[in-house]
């Protein structure tokens, strides 16, 4: 459950990036996952060089410096993406930006592969993980300080973002642009700037998410962005794409579903309960009481199934407003 929450918080931050962009220009930024990956990689370089240089900085500071280094890089990437690839295609039919995004995703992945090599990069384990027991028993649930940090950061980010969107002038401009681009332009809002800023902010969030993922799992690799992005997108859709709170909620929900599902689907579909029905089954169960129809290997399937289910039955998502009807 705790694992689910942490996983979910990670999904949530990434989902925020997706949902922001979609809210403004109705475009799924496929390359967002790669931005997260780049954030993780840049931070990795900074953190490991600082660690190798044996500076006397406390580990937390090193991580922060890494994050601060990753953010501008990701922002630059985000800005470039928008400027070079998405802006010219703003009015093209849906297919074009989609293919472009896929192409960009491939380019980014391979550039990262060239720069950082194919191998999984181990994140220096500089923060001592301290586990706290949540329940009384020794084998009960535990939560580590890293997990707490992730959940807290996640909430903080969302809070900051909500404040930005609902309290500041920029936020008003964003909301206006998302509702009606042309009129917003007529009202004196610089559409291009607003859109570019949206991408950039989304990318910054992605950078933070990347560092979190890297530190939490201890590993960073050029392909990590893809699946993460896909699942985060499912989360965003689950919560209602275009809706910030929805993205958070969706992210957390998806994380929990995945964690619990992977853990318990084996028990839920345990065939041995049915061994009364068939002899072969009973025979196999005697040697293998864990025989299950679906095991934990179907973990990834959950995200996809959730996505499909949501899109089929409730396309506006849980908290959502808009359904994209444009082709």
């Amino acid at each position: 459950m705790i694992n689910g929450l942490t996983l979910g918080s990670v999904y949530a931050i990434v989902a925020l990036g997706y949902t922001m962009v979609y809210g403004i220009i109705q475009l799924i930024n496929f390359a967002h996952g790669e931005v997260v990956m780049i954030g993780a990689m840049v931070a990795y370089t900074v953190i490991s060089s600082l660690t190798a240089a044996h500076t006397s900085l406390p580990p937390l500071a090193i991580v922060l410096i890494g994050t601060l280094a990753a953010i501008p890089v990701c922002m630059a990437v985000g800005y470039t993406l928008e400027r070079v690839a998405y802006r010219p295609l703003r009015n093209a039919p849906r297919l074009a930006p989609l293919i472009t995004a896929i192409g960009l995703s491939i380019i980014l992945q391979h550039l990262a592969m060239i720069i950082w090599s194919r191998n999984p990069l181990p994140y220096p384990q500089i923060i001592q993980t301290v586990a706290y027991h949540v329940t009384e028993s020794a084998t009960g649930a535990t939560i580590t300080n890293v997990q707490i940090a992730i959940i807290v950061t996640s909430l903080a980010m969302m809070g900051a973002l909500l404040a930005l969107v609902y309290r500041t002038k920029l936020g008003i401009a964003m909301r206006a642009t998302s509702q009606n681009q042309q009129v917003a332009g007529l009202m004196g809002i610089d559409i291009n700037r607003v859109i570019a800023l949206t991408f950039v902010i989304g990318a910054a969030l992605g950078a933070i998410a990347g560092v979190m993922v890297g530190s939490y799992y201890g590993i960073a690799q050029y392909q990590m962005g893809f699946l993460l992005g896909l699942k985060a997108f499912s989360a965003a859709v689950l919560g209602g794409i275009g809706n910030l709170a929805g993205a958070m909620l969706g992210g957390v929900l998806l994380g929990v579903i995945e964690a619990l599902g992977a853990g318990y689907v084996g028990d839920l579909t345990n065939l041995c309960g049915l061994s009364g029905w068939s002899d072969t089954l009973a025979q196999r169960c005697s040697s293998d009481p864990n025989l299950a129809l679906f095991g934990s290997n179907y973990q990834d399937v959950f995200a996809f199934l959730v996505l499909i289910a949501v899109l089929v039955f409730r396309p506006s998502g849980l908290l959502g407003e808009r359904v994209a009807d444009r082709a």
Binding site: A92, T100, A324
Partner: protein, 370 residues
């Protein structure tokens, strides 16, 4: 259908005057001759090239199938490779020691196509209301789900043998004529790959003919209508639901047949060959070549299939000559170029290399509207 009709169909996208018809005839004959001799020319360099060509032709088949879904009907499918996988596994499971069934290929290929058809409908049904991006993601999800299932259906009942894949798949056989063996007929050596090559070329021709007929039929026009404006199409009385399902089903069945041939030529399949990248590859072949235009799609498939080989022979020596060693591997360069090609094409020539005239107008008109 007479040859003349056939030729007319083939030159449909070409607005040619009378005189050009003669050139078209010559062209067709030349191409046919070239195709017939090609495997022997390649075999003199090395039978490996015939194998590579066979793989390329399989990609051509896949692209033609996807063209129906994406090009004709305008439904963005990112999970197409799943149908290929279904067809391949259908063949593998029915013609190998795995279940100890050894059905002949002319029985299995239709079964494979049918099975893929069913999956196509299963995939299409929930997605009927979705558009554009959402459709793409859902189809992607389906593709991945099928692959994960194939990878994991080894417990509790071993159906697909999971990640270990299925080995010792039978090659095509007609009586005692085995497609995998090398035989000498009329003084010429026909190696396994060459026999498969002819079969594949035949298959391609059949599928091209089917595609051409579809394009011109009521169904094809219905697809075009749906693609351009679904609401209007429905208002005109077209049963969009059935048409969309039909598009998925037909596209899927072509994928299924190709999958079966793939199984037979390789002799070994595993879920590894059916990952998302393959789907994207096929989609790119369709998009880059020219969506909706059969010849464009074929060209796209050929280009993208041979590109890695070409790159491998050029990139390595060039890098060694310039830098003394390999800085970036050809595979990586290939993917970089590929991604770049996708982006550039979409920015500058979204209709593809050989665009279908209709699509070209569509895409360019949209671009101009501010």
């Amino acid at each position: 259908m007479t040859l003349l009709e056939l030729k007319d169909l083939a030159t449909r996208n070409v607005h040619s005057a009378r005189g050009d018809r003669r050139f078209a005839w010559v062209g067709v004959v030349l191409i046919a001759a070239a195709l017939a001799i090609l495997p022997f020319a390649l075999a003199s360099i090395g039978t490996a090239w015939v194998r590579i060509t066979n793989l390329a032709i399989l990609y051509v088949l896949l692209s033609l199938g996807l063209n129906i879904v994406v090009g004709f009907a305008g439904l963005l499918d990112l999970g197409y490779i799943a149908f290929y996988a279904v067809g391949a596994y259908a063949y593998a499971l029915l013609a190998s020691p795995h279940f100890n069934l050894h059905l002949p290929f002319w029985v299995i290929l239709p079964i494979g196509a049918g099975l893929a058809c069913i999956f196509g409908v299963l995939l299409g049904a929930p997605t009927l209301k979705l558009r554009g991006d959402y459709l793409a993601i859902v189809t992607l999800g389906f593709g991945e789900i099928i692959r994960i299932f194939l990878n994991n259906l080894s417990q509790p009942v071993n159906i697909t043998n999971g990640p270990q894949g299925v080995t010792l798949i039978d090659p095509f056989r007609i009586g005692t004529f085995n497609f995998a063996r090398t035989e000498t007929l009329l003084g010429m050596t026909f190696s396994g790959p060459i026999k498969y090559y002819y079969f594949l070329v035949l298959l391609v021709i059949v599928i091209i003919v089917i595609n051409l007929r579809l394009q011109d039929s009521r169904i094809g026009r219905a697809w075009e209508a749906i693609r351009e404006d679904e609401v209007a199409a429905r208002a005109m009385g077209i049963n969009t639901r059935n048409m969309k399902l039909l598009a998925f089903a037909m596209g899927a069945s072509f994928g299924g047949v190709s999958g079966g041939v793939f199984s037979a030529t390789q002799g070994f399949i595993s879920p590894e060959s059916f990952v998302l990248v393959e789907s994207i590859m096929v989609l790119s072949m369709v998009v880059l070549g020219g969506m909706g235009n059969i010849w464009g799609v074929i060209l796209g498939a050929i280009l993208l299939s041979f590109a890695p080989e070409v790159l491998r022979y050029t990139v390595e020596p060039v890098q060694r000559a310039l830098f003394g060693r390999m800085i970036i591997e050809p595979e990586v360069i290939r993917m970089l170029l590929f991604g770049l090609a996708l982006v550039l094409m979409m920015l500058f020539r979204p209709a593809g290399i050989l665009p279908s005239a209709v699509r070209k107008r569509e895409l360019e008109r949209r671009k101009e509207t501010p």
